[in-house]
Symmetry: C2
Subunit: 216 residues, 2 copies
């Protein structure tokens, strides 16, 4: 939940009565916010930038998701974080102390409701990712990924998808290798579906074509 959203639900006067429950923090690119298995002391919302959530297994990495401005991260069921978080580019976060945050949730039912809704949305997203990882080809994965990112971040220029994460991060998100991601990007470019002028972004030339590749 974004701080603004929290304020919206609570109202500023109520929030003021709660005292200083939140503070802002900045992360530079590559900085780690917390590690999987750490005791969960804080909950965070993204204000600026992008972070990746990931799990490690003896050298192998699975990026479970990317968090963008407005996203809530760090909620844990068993007071241990279930994944690690690292900033992809400079990021700015709202930090909520864990049980203060829970206190707010308990004090304001609409907040708790909103958090539940978000968790269910997140669940649906992750389950779509299961289908991608379990059953889609490399081409389909990359095309799906581009469409997902387009849906999330393309405010303003509707064709341009910012891709601040590295090719390795994309590969680790899609269950592929860097080489396969790179080759697939090239293939989609040669087919005229995307333009890769900037390396940290892609311009979509045919959403229909991309959709056709993503879900045959």
């Amino acid at each position: 939940m974004h701080a603004k959203a929290v304020c919206h639900v609570l109202g500023h006067e109520q929030l003021a009565r709660l005292g200083p429950v939140m503070h802002v923090r900045t992360l530079s690119g590559g900085a780690v916010l917390y590690h999987e298995g750490d005791r969960a002391r804080g909950v965070f919302t993204i204000r600026q930038g992008m972070v990746k959530l990931y799990k490690l297994l003896d050298g192998r990495c699975q990026v479970t998701g990317f968090a963008l401005p407005g996203d809530l991260i760090g909620l844990a069921q068993d007071d241990r974080y279930a994944h690690s978080v690292e900033a992809i580019e400079g990021a700015e976060l709202c930090c909520w102390e864990q049980h203060r945050f829970c206190g707010v949730l308990n004090a304001f039912p609409p907040m708790k409701h909103a958090v539940l809704e978000r968790s269910l949305l997140e669940l649906a997203t992750v389950q779509r990712q299961l289908l991608l990882l379990g059953r889609k080809t490399a081409r389909e994965r990359v095309a799906t990924f581009l469409l997902q990112m387009a849906a999330r971040v393309c405010r303003g220029r509707p064709n341009f998808i910012p891709l601040p994460m590295s090719r390795t991060d994309i590969a680790d998100h899609l269950g592929l290798t860097v080489e396969t991601v790179s080759r697939t990007f090239t293939a989609l470019r040669k087919e005229g579906l995307i333009d890769l002028g900037d390396r940290r972004g892609a311009r979509v030339l045919s959403f229909d074509g991309l959709r056709a590749v993503a879900e045959p």
Copy 2:
């Protein structure tokens, strides 16, 4: 949330005042409870048996999970189910009418809290599955699956894992083919890690060995 758990949180006298919010329903093996995309009218808890949750993509199938007695299914964020549900063996469910269930949640904060906790637990489980599908080998996937099932269902006989689902269901859960699942089971058997006397179950001969295969 299991009906019993609901009763536990609410207390029977409170529940009685709510009127008939719940009824019981049985499904025979292979019966479909609902399809992905259907308008979400009900929420369900499993009383008996096992059901599979799955998503389809032009013939391909991804089983996102198996629900066991006590599990809550059918919560949707956008009033459309995010997956299909089919009974694996005869199953018995508690059915809650969707907005009645939400009414109960709103009336009893501890219930809503419990549902949030469950959703977060579910989220953590699914994210572990992302790591499995994105980064584990067939051997690791099968071994991990066996350990997961052992942790969930082995009350009583600690070594025996009931596997009421078909090999195809297991394959669709692990992002593999039936053949690979079968070959891998055979390999683990020949290595002395499991015994496959019954086809709808497995006896674990070495949990340590299985763990070593699951997470190298």
